[in-house]
């Protein structure tokens, strides 16, 4: 009796786990499970993919149930029993009809899946660009994101702001995707599928998020040591909030005389060689634009929250948070560190 049950244990285990995987879309609808859940789409490309994937899961679920049941039946019903004699069962060498049947039926399923898929590919990749889109050029670096807004004339880093869209009057954001060094990939699951950023191979993608809020993602093509911490934050804002943010970003850096010493050190210690602070002589483009550093929630492309303590530690030695990052450890005394940190803290 126990042996009999044991034969089924594996099947139950496998079946249970697999059903759980298939049921994930159901329980994962709420963002409570994950902020990067592909089954919680909030933008047309992600929605298109979601609908296609549900259809496909249903078809595959049916195939799975049928074939799994047949296999399970075969391994239980046709076991050698103890009371069996030692004669061989009837030898069956094949059946042309069966071969045709289980060739034709799968081909038909493939045709259906292919046609529905081709339609979605076309709808996402070849979508016509409406008027009133926001254009952002994304340049991926090892290990941070540069965001240029050519329509507004400024550059920022690591936190992408876009206006919310709606289906009646869409105001999508089109992203031009470039790379400054190696291959990267832009993946914010709730907004769209991922698209790669490849040197000498510009790509484009688009998003039209329908809810405001923060959407998370991260680089999804191995790009070197700190690939894991090349995180993405997309801030979807109402039109008004977005315009306010744009306006603030367009301003040159705040000039606070109380931190002038730090500002001078920023130049003297060659920070300007990699970083831009608009309105000052610092115009480096190797590292992120710091003009409005304090308007960002995180440092190091999502590596740590943007707190005074973290900022100080980052400037002291970036490798504390992101070993392998390309920013070298600056050569600063404690006093110099304090002054530069104070200066950076004013760059709102």
């Amino acid at each position: 009796m126990l042996r009999e049950a044991l034969r089924f244990k594996r099947l139950y285990l496998a079946g249970a786990v697999l059903l759980t995987i298939l049921a994930t879309p159901l329980f994962a609808q709420s963002n409570g499970v994950s902020p990067t859940n592909i089954f919680a789409p909030d933008s047309t490309p992600a929605h298109s993919i979601f609908r296609l994937s549900i259809f496909e899961l249903e078809v595959e679920g049916a195939i799975f149930v049928v074939v799994f049941s047949l296999l399970a039946y075969a391994v239980t019903k046709f076991r050698q029993r103890r009371k069996d004699d030692d004669t061989e069962p009837p030898q069956v060498y094949g059946s042309n009809q069966m071969e045709i049947a289980w060739t034709v039926l799968p081909v038909l399923i493939v045709v259906v899946l292919f046609l529905t898929t081709a339609q979605v590919i076309h709808r996402v990749q070849d979508a016509r660009r409406p008027a009133g889109t926001t254009e952002v050029t994304v340049v991926a670096h090892q290990f941070w994101w540069e965001y240029r807004y050519p329509q507004y004339g400024f550059v920022t880093a690591n936190e992408l702001h876009v206006p919310v869209s709606d289906l009646q009057t869409p105001t999508p954001t089109y992203l031009g995707l470039l790379s400054a060094d190696v291959d990267h990939s832009f993946w914010v699951p709730r907004l769209a599928g991922k698209t790669d950023l490849i040197p000498n191979h510009p790509n484009t993608m688009w998003i039209d998020p329908q809810e405001t809020g923060i959407f998370l993602g991260q680089c999804s093509q191995y790009c070197g040591t700190q690939h894991a911490k090349m995180l993405q934050r997309v801030y979807v804002q109402t039109k008004d909030d977005f315009d306010k943010w744009v306006h603030a970003q367009q301003q040159p850096a705040v000039v606070d005389p109380s931190v002038a010493a730090g500002g001078a050190l920023f130049i003297a210690k060659a920070c300007f060689a990699c970083h831009t602070v608009r309105g000052t002589p610092a115009m480096g483009v190797v590292g992120p634009d710091l003009t409005h550093l304090m308007s960002r929630d995180t440092i190091g492309s999502g590596a740590v929250p943007n707190t005074p303590e973290n900022l100080r530690n980052w400037v002291h030695d970036p490798a504390i948070f992101k070993p392998g990052t390309l920013m070298p450890k600056p050569d600063l005394t404690d006093a110099e560190l304090a002054q530069i940190t104070a200066y950076l803290s004013t760059l709102r």
Binding site: R10, L13, A14, V17, V33, P35, T36, N37, I38, F39, P45, A46, I49, L52, S53, E56, L57, E60, F64, V67, L70, A74, V75, F78, R79, D84, E88, P89, P90, Q91, V92, S95, M98, P106, V110, L113, T117, A118, I121, L177, D181, D183, W187, P189, G193, I198, P199, N200, H201, Q218, C219, Q221, Y222, G224, T225, Q226, H227, A228, P323, G324
Partner: protein
């Protein structure tokens, strides 16, 4: 000393086969250690158990080792040992080339692992390659990979590639040119057919990798610009060339495993293989179609929509002959009297798991779905389902099935069952939940991850499962070693099987057969055991 020389200088296919297998088992253990270390690191978010540099070297070495120094050698090893016996030959077509293939491959593996002892030293994982097993340009260019780690990757695989191509030519010449009288192509065991298809695929699949790696060396050492974007070069071209190799390569790996299953399931179900011609046609079909699917690894690269659509179609189509094979195995079991000895247990696990792997594969074949799931842990789960749940399970089955022939002793059946159940639990604990972080946005090749993404629990369970797999493998290795020395004698034909290898002694003499056999059907031993109802009446 005499024994050492005998093995170092042998050109006997059986000894070479065993050397391949032992070599691969050694690297399987090493691969497993690399995996355990990575799973410890990934069990918790923001773990600091391993530095990013070490982790990145580990996943690169794990993948490279697994494909080139575990899977390929072990499958060559089994083919080497078994195929000449099955076709009634005394050895492979080119015995000395066979030895050369083994030694050049073996040297490649040792060269790759020498990299662990360079640069920062072993505790830092040395100067081992850290560019991922597919080594995308321009990460491999001199600018982004200074030092020699990428060169270890390139050179060791160039060597292994030479060994594989020579081995493939050898297998093809053996299967076509060494069959015993009466064994037409339509009568040879499916294992021989699968070896033939595997060989043919290797010829056209490893070569593109060799070409691409030569190009990489030109870039790295001769100032060439094949993948140099500053000179107008294309890194997408590397991807094309790599995947033109990389996708058919996985069929190279699974097709001999189909051969194992096609030998084992009939014997344990006590029925002839259902649909032999369809199995042959499906395998050849898979071989050909698999050459046209490669860009499904590149759906996110920005190919035009009709390009992506084409590869969706070809990739889904390759599932059709694969499904045909599953149905034929099912039909073989149908109406049989299945004995669930350890080889059959592993084949049964394979059948269920390969079904699931195929279905997740169709999801990934669907380009838009892949735009979400590609390069995520869903892909990692999928391919481990194929490689561990499919390939490794059938390799275990092959061990238990042919061990008696190789050694003259039976492996312990109780330990075999413990191995199966514990490894099965471990496999499912690790790889079933692994699909979930992929669905929830976790990319692959990350040395750590943020908390609060919903990935923590699944990663922990996956890591726990690894422990079970280790235990299973330890039981297996113990069983192998102890059975080799004190297992009960097996006799020539312990499974009551039907192909020619079971007609000679266990182990076979160096010359395999006293007289070269002659066959009249696909199951010569069935004909002998059932003179009143031989196969050749029905074929």
């Amino acid at each position: 000393m005499q024994v050492v020389y005998e093995w170092l200088g042998t050109a006997d296919h059986k000894k070479i086969g065993l050397m391949y297998i032992v070599y691969a088992l050694l690297f399987l253990v090493i691969m497993g250690i690399e995996a355990i270390l990575m799973r410890i690191q990934l069990a918790h978010p923001n773990s600091t158990f391993l530095s990013p540099q070490v982790f990145n070297r580990l996943f690169t070495m794990h993948g490279t080792t697994g494909v080139f120094f575990v899977a390929m050698p072990i499958l060559f090893g089994f083919a080497n040992y078994v195929v000449p016996l099955m076709i009634g030959a005394r050895d492979m077509a080119f015995p000395r080339l066979n030895a050369f293939s083994f030694w050049v491959t073996a040297f490649g593996g040792f060269l790759l692992y020498a990299s662990f002892f360079t640069a920062g030293g072993f505790s830092q994982a040395g100067g081992a390659p850290d560019v991922g097993w597919f080594a995308y340009a321009p990460l491999t260019s001199p600018a982004f990979s200074p030092g020699h780690s990428t060169d270890y990757w390139t050179l060791s695989l160039l060597l292994a590639g030479v060994g594989s191509i020579a081995g493939a030519a050898n297998i093809i010449a053996t299967v076509l040119g060494m069959r015993c009288p009466g064994m037409t192509l339509g009568r040879m065991p499916l294992m021989a057919w699968m070896s033939l298809v595997m060989g043919g695929l290797i010829l056209v699949t490893i070569s593109p990798l060799t070409a691409a790696q030569l190009m990489l060396m030109v870039d790295r050492y001769m100032g060439g610009h094949f993948f140099d974007t500053a000179a107008g070069g294309s890194v997408v071209m590397w991807m094309h060339f790599f995947w033109i190799f990389g996708h058919p390569e996985v069929y190279v790996l699974i097709i001999p495993c189909f051969g194992f299953v096609s030998e084992i399931v009939p014997v344990f179900a006590r029925k002839a293989m259902f649909g032999y011609p369809a199995m042959v046609a499906a395998s050849v079909g898979i071989g050909f179609v698999s050459l046209g699917v490669w860009a499904h690894h590149m759906y996110t690269v920005g190919l035009p929509s009709y390009g992506n659509a084409f590869f969706v179609l070809t990739t889904m189509l390759v599932a059709v002959p694969t499904g045909i094979k599953i149905f034929n195995w099912l039909a073989t079991m149908w109406g049989g009297k299945i004995r669930f000895a350890t080889p059959m247990l592993f084949c049964t696990g394979f059948l269920f798991q390969f079904l699931v792997a195929g279905l997740t594969g169709i999801m990934l074949a669907t380009a838009p779905f892949d735009w979400q799931l590609g390069n995520s842990y869903f892909v990692v789960a999928h391919f481990h389902y194929v490689i561990v749940g499919g390939i490794l399970f059938t390799i275990f089955a092959a061990f238990y099935y042919w061990f008696p022939k190789v050694s003259g002793r039976m492996m312990n059946e109780t330990l075999g069952k413990w191995h199966f159940w514990i490894f099965l639990i471990g496999f499912h604990l690790t790889f079933d939940p692994m699909h979930i972080p992929g669905l929830l946005g976790m990319p692959r090749r990350v040395y750590t991850y943020e908390a609060g993404r919903g990935w923590d629990t699944a990663n922990m369970i996956s890591s726990v499962g690894a422990i079970f797999q280790v235990v299973g493998i330890l039981i297996f290795v113990y069983n192998l070693l102890s059975s080799f020395f004190v297992g009960p004698e097996s006799g020539n034909d312990p499974w009551d099987a039907w192909t020619l290898e079971w007609a000679t002694t266990s182990p076979p003499p160096e010359y395999n057969f006293a007289t070269i056999p002659e066959v009249k059907s696909r199951r010569p031993l069935w004909d002998i055991k059932h003179p009143e109802d031989p196969d050749w009446k029905y074929e």
